[in-house]
Assembly symmetry: C2
């Protein structure tokens, strides 16, 4: 109240209005916004975000990856991006980190001097951070903005849905029932908040033993495809488990560029093609 009487409220409103204008302006330069979600953690959501981003960039699209998993931001490590994003006096916006000419990324980790620090924030602060990841970053013209969201149906995906109304959801799952039951929650979450469900990816779908070549279903198989059919969502593809994806993610090297003939590498490429085809780009 005191602030309002002294005029503080008006300047706050003005700042909010300016941010809203900036938000619309930034988003208008981005053709397609994809939010990569999962019901359950550890299904390889970030691996899919990063590898889909690389595959689209390899196909000539301009891609940005926005890592809004504020508590466990893994995108920079997986892309091998180090250092911090810094503000400069002359530039009104921050430059995102660059993986290649076609692929930029931003993450909470880019702002943390000690990468092992924990972000202990409750909801409202997170919402504000997500807003700034759009308004304060110089994304430029993009074909795709891929938003890597933390698992579940909590603050972050809700904030992204509110901040980027035309974002389309890609849901990543493994084939086991425990993951699928959480996927159904994600689908209901999207329905409730009127978010378009664009497609589903089944990850860690089968594993070929490196010793004998026989395939084993680590987490069952086919459950993601069946769930996509049941809810009438585009099924974008299956990616088999490959320990080299884990190793590449840990070391920050590009799995698909280094293992071009691997089944999983081809699967990422096919998913990128399908995404582009479905969106008529």
């Amino acid at each position: 109240m005191g602030d309002c009487q002294s005029g503080g409220c008006g300047s706050q409103n003005q700042a909010k209005q300016e941010q809203d204008v900036e938000l619309k302006n930034t988003l208008s330069k981005i053709k397609y916004k994809l939010i990569v979600m999962s019901g359950k953690g550890g299904v390889g959501k970030t691996s899919v975000s990063v590898n889909l981003g690389i595959a689209l960039a390899n196909r000539g699209f301009k891609v940005g990856i926005m890592d809004v998993d504020l508590h466990g931001p893994d995108v920079p490590r997986m892309l091998g991006l180090k250092g911090e994003v810094e503000a400069s006096k002359d530039m009104p916006k921050l430059t995102p980190m660059s993986y290649s000419d076609n692929l930029k990324a931003i993450s909470m980790e880019c702002f943390m001097p000690n990468k092992d620090d924990a972000v202990i924030w409750r909801g409202p602060l997170k919402h504000s951070a997500i807003n700034q990841f759009i308004t304060d970053i110089d994304w430029g013209e993009l074909d795709f903005l891929i938003v890597d969201s933390p698992p579940g149906t909590g603050d972050e995906p809700l904030s992204v849905a509110q901040t980027i109304p035309d974002a389309k959801a890609i849901i990543v799952t493994t084939p086991q029932e425990v993951a699928l039951s959480d996927v159904r929650k994600s689908i209901n979450f999207c329905k409730k908040i009127n978010k378009e469900m664009f497609g589903m990816v089944e990850n860690m779908s089968g594993y070929a033993c490196p010793h004998c070549g026989e395939t084993a279903d680590l987490f069952g198989s086919g459950g993601g495809e069946a769930t996509a059919k049941q809810f009438n969502i585009n099924f974008l593809g299956k990616i088999p488990f490959d320990p080299k994806i884990v190793k590449a993610g840990d070391s920050g090297s590009s799995y698909q560029d280094e293992n071009q003939d691997a089944v999983a590498a081809k699967a990422f490429g096919e998913i990128a093609d399908k995404v582009a085809e479905l969106l008529n780009t």
Copy 2:
């Protein structure tokens, strides 16, 4: 302000005080409180919570499992518990769901008629739900309360830390670096909020091919043990990946009771023994 002037504020304060008394009363009957955390999702945190609970219950301890993963509550499915918890007029508290005489559990899912519904809550509502999971549930006398927390360092683990000040943290991780970097965040989170780090479990540590018997490291190996040593945390044990754990979790049957000779089943038992030994129970 209006509420305070009309006395509403006083009655709100009184309700809060009564809840605080009830909270202390309930917690005083529980000998050890363990919060099972992970930096990253999908490392098998819930599998560890559930199997540690079953192993401790099999050893004669009275155990409660409190599932505070409000967005992806998997404990009831993994324990094969169905139906809802209902309030009755005659009982002041709700009876938790019962897996066996020694093992009770409560989860957001117990209150949801449609199990596929998404809980779309921001922080403050979650805090209140976690509080009520303690004060409104008839836990009785327990040796162990195992709190299965969602991954990361967000609202839920923070609320548990505030609500149960003497909870000790068990951190579950897989051996790969992407998981370990998030574990270091969890460790720093515990340090910041003065939460005792009790122990670490390395899950999905190696995998024996069901066809040829050869072992493969799906997610690397040894990283959890090394991190525990680095931060001077008790290392509670390694659990190999076994697809039967996934299947048992999906069907709600007890992996360790049905596969008593399996390496992973024995590992869960040894972890339970170590927990009991370290706590001098």
